[in-house]
Symmetry: C2
DNA sequence: CTGCATGCAAAAACTTTGCACCGCC
DNA sequence: GGCGGTGCAAAGTTTTTGCATGCAG
């Protein structure tokens, strides 16, 4: 049975309020403002728990620490090769790709994640200069 | 300038011969058969180098250590939620998704990776019993 | 009160790096 | 022989965990 905790609620609220997909460390630094004694271990434990409850999402970009996203609606992520920022990306009409993938496969496909790479609006603008 | 090394060639050959996407540790254990004194650091250095040369591919599944793939032709990966195995997956007609992604985005999209999750043929068969 | 959650710190897991020596070009 | 590669070990980074205490139910 899962018990309410003020720390967990704070972490959840923080994530929902942010759109930059912070790392555990960033979350930790920010939650400290409300809970000066919170430990990084507690942050990790709650992030893992919230993920398994489906209330948040973990982003493993393949480099650097994992990031977390309070937005659980289906969407994708873009990672800037230039500045490393992680942006939300809504891609229309990708719902079918599980079915496409299953066509050459004898197992059961239940979901997918995808990461797009390139230059973010900010960096591709600077490149034009 | 990059110099030839027998260790690197051996790592490359090993990866090309395997279809199970081994981890650095597994590669290390196997290369040891030919080079008993090779160090894990050398394995990591060569894997990083081969990746940046585009001769192999790194797979970051989001859990556990990174895996490596000697197959550089465009294809996707499937990760079994049940047994953790990583399988190759050819998905037809996914070339366009960079373009789809760019439709709602003001930066430049250069590529993507995608991972599919579910039950592998082996595990979905056991589930039927 | 009971037991899950926390804080703290140690440790685990994975990867990178400094340095002296080795071997390709 | 010069310089990049290796082996070794230490250290870095990220995440997990054991344990005593705290707090929700």
């Amino acid at each position: 049975m899962i018990k309410y905790s003020r720390q967990r609620e704070c972490i959840k609220n923080f994530l929902v309020s942010r759109y930059d997909h912070p790392t555990a460390e960033t979350i930790y630094q920010n939650i400290k403002k409300d809970f000066p004694n919170i430990s990084l271990g507690t942050v990790y434990r709650n992030l893992t728990l919230l993920c398994s409850l489906g209330e948040i999402q973990k982003i493993s970009a393949g480099t650097g620490p994992d990031r977390f996203d309070g937005n659980t609606s289906p969407h994708y992520h873009f990672i800037c090769k230039c500045c490393g920022s992680v942006l939300d990306l809504n891609v229309a009409g990708l719902d079918h790709i599980n079915i496409l993938a299953e066509q050459n496969f004898h197992g059961k496909i239940e979901g997918h994640v995808a990461y797009f790479y390139g230059q973010c609006p900010c960096c591709s603008q600077s490149a034009d200069l």
